[in-house]
Structure formats: C-alpha cells, structure tokens
C-alpha cells in the first residue's frame, strides 16, 4: 500500500542527568526572555516579560482555566471520535479487503488537503459552536490514526498470519489476536502525535469563530490589544498540550509493555 506510516518517533528519551539539563535549559531560556524584555523595555505588543505573563495568568486564572476546559473538551471529544473513526476504517479495510481500493485512495486524497483549509467549510456547515471543533479535530486525528493503524495492521508478519491460519483461525481471530496487538505501537505513536494536533486544531478553529475557548480568548485579547493575555493563553495552551501528550504517552507505556 502507498500510505506509508508518517509517524515520527517520539523524541529521544531523557535520562536523569538529561532531565536536569532540560530543566536548566528552560530556566535559562525564561531568564533570557525576561532579561531581553525588561532590559530593552520592549512594549508588551512586541514581547512582554515572562513575569508579567505569569502574573496575568494568575490574575485571569478563572477566565483562562474555563477557556482551557472548553478547548480541552473540544480537543478530547474530537480526538476520541477521530481515533474511533480512524481505527474503524482500518478495521473495515482489513476485514473486507475489497474496500481498500476505494477507501484508501479516498482517505489519502482528503488527507492531502491541509486540515486548516477545511475550517471555513466546517464552520459554515456546523456553526461556530463546539460541533465544528469536534469535526475539525476528528478530521485531523482520524487520518493520522487511520494511516498509522493500517500501517500497523499491514506490518504484521505474513508468516505469523499463516501460522494462525494453520491453526484454523479466521480473519476476525487473526485481527484480534495478531494484527491489533502488532499494530498497537504504531497506533500509539499516531495517537500520541495526534494529541498536540488536536489541541492546536481546536484553537485554530476557535480563532475563526467560537463561543469560548483558548483560541477565542486569544482572538479577543488581540482585538483588545492585550498581548500579555495573548501570551498567557499561549502558555496555558502549551501546558494543556503537554499534559495531554504526557497522559497518552503514559497510557501507551502501560499498555505496550513488551517493547
């Protein structure tokens, strides 16, 4: 099949010392930022100081946390829907091979359009409420999950399939006992990469029209020329992404223990 797994492996793991260095790196970066912003008296619309941003996050915490909850809801619901669609499609193609000739090219074609390009259409179709965000996130997630799951299903050793067949196993049994577990690592990689995308897509769509959420907060803050708040929302978004990513990564390590 032509759909190569496009899943980028996770960043190299960090050891104990590496962790310390990583924290040090972030601290240095923040200090440099603070120094530059304060030292050059940069106006907030160019680059606000980190301390100001943190202070603003604290001051506006209830707005930001509500918005983050809004965005996370959109991202997680869309993510789950997208993941289910992606896995289902891959299962259908595997169980009913003739569908591959139709579904795979169609999926690849739809996937060749950058997701954000769909947003105008989706907003027109589904309005600016949560449903349009669900659809956008699901769209972005489902293709990644679909392609990585299918690649996982296809990666299974032909000889293993033959072995189970020789035991009298049918397609479903082979899918359940062999293809699914084989595909898990690739699926998980797809799921992990999708977490960050889910949140970014939710925010991007919110900025084009929404009733709330971090993207909406950013949009409003830009209009009110409140760049400290823009940065505050970016910080919160980034933290939410990291948390979502970490959570899925943790679940992955628990489930795929044999790697």
């Amino acid at each position: 099949m032509s759909a190569a797994p496009e899943v980028i492996a996770a960043a190299p793991r960090a050891g104990g010392c590496a962790l310390q260095r990583g924290v040090l790196g972030i601290v240095l970066f923040v200090l440099a930022w603070e120094g530059i912003a304060r030292g050059f008296h940069l106006p907030s619309y160019t680059l606000p100081a980190v301390s100001d941003i943190l202070a603003s996050i604290y001051a506006k915490r209830s707005i930001l946390f509500t918005a983050a909850g809004f965005t996370l809801t959109e991202a997680v619901v869309g993510y789950v829907i997208g993941a289910l669609i992606g896995v289902t499609l891959a299962v259908v193609i595997t169980l009913v091979p003739p569908t591959r000739a139709v579904l795979l090219p169609a999926a690849t074609a739809i996937n060749s359009v950058p997701v954000v390009a769909y947003s105008p259409l989706i907003l027109l179709w589904f309005g600016i409420g949560m449903p349009s965000k669900f659809v956008m996130v699901a769209l972005a997630v489902s293709f990644t999950v679909f392609l990585s799951t299918l690649a996982g299903f296809d990666r299974v050793d032909r000889r293993s399939v033959d072995l189970l067949r020789s035991f009298g196993a049918g397609r479903l049994a082979i899918l359940w006992r062999l293809r699914l577990p084989t595909a898990l690592p690739l699926m998980a990689a797809g799921l992990r990469v999708s977490t960050v995308r889910a949140i970014i897509v939710a925010i991007v769509t919110e900025m084009l029209g929404a009733y709330g959420g971090l993207g909406w907060v950013i949009y409003q803050a830009v209009l009110q020329i409140d760049f400290v708040q823009v940065w505050g929302a970016i910080f919160v978004a980034s933290a939410a992404s990291l948390a979502f990513f970490g959570l899925v990564g943790f679940a992955e390590r628990r489930i795929i223990f044999w790697k």
């Binding site: 190569a4 496009e6 980028i8 492996a9 960043a11 190299p12 960090a14 010392c17 590496a18 260095r21 990583g22 924290v23 040090l24 790196g25 972030i26 240095l28 970066f29 619309y45 160019t46 139709v102 090219p105 169609a106 074609a109 060749s112 359009v113 950058p114 997701v115 954000v116 390009a117 769909y118 947003s119 105008p120 259409l121 907003l123 027109l124 179709w125 960050v196 949140i199 970014i200 925010i203 991007v204 900025m207 084009l208 971090l214 993207g215 950013i218 830009v222 823009v230 929302a233 970016i234 978004a237 980034s238 992404s241 990291l242 990513f245």
Partner: protein, 271 residues
C-alpha cells in the same frame, strides 16, 4: 562473467513484469478513474437529494468556477507554493543542521531539546499577528510559519537516524582509521537519510498548512486568502474550488518529496 543480478529473479513472471511496466501510468489511470467516479457520485447525490448549494455545491459548478476565473487560483497556487517551498527548504536545512549539531553536542541537545518540544505545542495561529509584526507583510512572514512547523520533525528524525547507526558498522570504519568527519559523511549521514525523508514527507504537508495559515494574516494573494474570502462572503463554491487546488498542491508537493526520496534513498529504509 556477464551474469544478470541475482535478485532480479532469473525469470521474471511475465504477467507481473508487464504490470510493473504499466505501473505508474496504470496507477495514474486508476486514480483518475476513481476521481471521476467520486465526482459523478457527488454530482448525482446533490442533484437527487436536492442538497442546498451553500451546503454542498455540485462539482460541475465548482469546476466551472475554476475555469471561468482561473487567475486567482493560479496566482494563489503559485504564491502559496513559493511560501511553502521557502519555508520547507529552510525548515529542512535548519532541522537537519540542528539534528547534526544535537548529535555531536549531547549537552547542548539536552539543554535545548525540551524547549523545541514545548515550542511545538504552541498553536501557530496565535503567533500570526506577532509574525506579521516581526517580519512585516512579506512572503517571508508566511514562510516563517511554514518553517516553524517544518523544522522540528526533521530535527527529531535526523537525530534518531544518526543514532540508529549500527555500532558495528562504525567500529568497522574506525578500524580502517576513519576520522569523525569521514564517519559522518560516509556512514552516519547516509544511514540517517531514510529517517530524514520520513520527516520530510510529513513536513511537506505541514509546510503547506503553515503557508495557508500564514496567509490569514493580511495578504492579497494565496490559497489561504481565497479560503477566508470564501468563508466570509459565504461563497461555498469558491471554498470548494480552493480546496481542490490545495489538494492538488498538497498531493503534488508530497509526491515530489516522495519522488526525491525514491531517487536518493534507492536502497530502501531497511537493510
């Protein structure tokens, strides 16, 4: 001994050889046939169920729009293409460079890598306004966003590729007295190339996303502009036409990168 190479089986099965010869053309024909079928089904669906045109216009209407006013779509295509190319190329070079640097300087990598990761969780669009402030209303502002989305996967995969070098292979070259530079050019970089290309293929789509999003920040030409315009004037036909052009651009660019990969990484990822 003028033998034929052994992997080309001495006798190639006739049927499959013919198929392979037909390969690219045949696949193209099949792809076009499927496309036509999809369009026909779509047209029929809209007509039969009387779907309102501002929900889903008929494909013939979309194609007609493309044919009647091709100029904005062609200009948009070219403009977005150049932004994508510049962002992609700079992101790829920077990504590979950082990968090499991180590979050689472990301490630096541990210091900077977490920042790279965090940077990727920032929604680009939040940056749009700032990028216009920093880079002005130029093509480079868009390319900068494409760059931002591109470099990270390339860095990660370059690093992973370099680290996947077989230590025995390295030992072999060292036993021949190879210097670090010789190791890099003759072993490490070529080994990493397949991995790098996986990232480049991904980056080709991301660069396009970056260019389109970048165009939402005040521009006159580009596919992103056409999308916005279509959205705010509720011109669904124009949105669809732009989607089709984006698909063309996306597929074409991806195919180009994949083609380059096939030529440069002719030996395949597995060995």
């Amino acid at each position: 001994m003028s033998a034929s190479p052994l992997t080309h089986p001495a006798v190639t099965p006739g049927g499959s050889a013919a198929l392979r010869l037909l390969g690219p053309l045949g696949r193209l024909a099949r792809g076009l046939a499927i496309l036509l079928a999809v369009f026909a089904a779509w047209e029929a669906l809209v007509v039969l169920f009387g779907i309102r045109p501002y929900y889903l216009p008929r494909p013939t209407v979309i194609l007609a729009a493309l044919v009647q006013t091709p100029a904005p779509y062609i200009q948009g295509f070219l403009r977005t293409l150049s932004e994508t190319l510049i962002g992609f190329a700079s992101g790829a070079l920077f990504g590979i460079g950082m990968g090499l640097l991180f590979f050689r300087a472990r301490a630096l990598r541990e210091l900077v890598f977490p920042l790279f990761i965090v940077s990727q969780t920032i929604p680009v669009i939040a940056f749009g306004a700032l990028v216009v402030l920093w880079f002005g209303n130029t093509l480079f502002a868009k390319a900068a966003i494409a760059f931002y989305l591109t470099f990270f996967p390339v860095t990660v995969n370059t690093l992973l590729g370099l680290e996947s070098v077989d230590p025995r292979q390295e030992a072999l070259l060292r036993s021949f007295g190879a210097s670090p530079l010789q190791l890099m050019t003759r072993l490490q970089f070529p080994t990493a190339l397949p991995q790098i290309f996986v990232a480049l293929r991904l980056a080709s789509s991301l660069a396009l996303v970056g260019a389109i999003v970048g165009e939402w920040f005040g521009d006159t030409v580009g596919l992103g502009v056409l999308l916005l315009q279509g959205m705010y004037t509720e011109n669904v036909v124009s949105i669809w036409a732009t989607l089709l052009v984006s698909a063309l651009l996306g597929t074409g660019f991806y195919a180009a990168v994949a083609g380059a990969e096939r030529v440069l990484v002719f030996w395949g990822a597995e060995q």
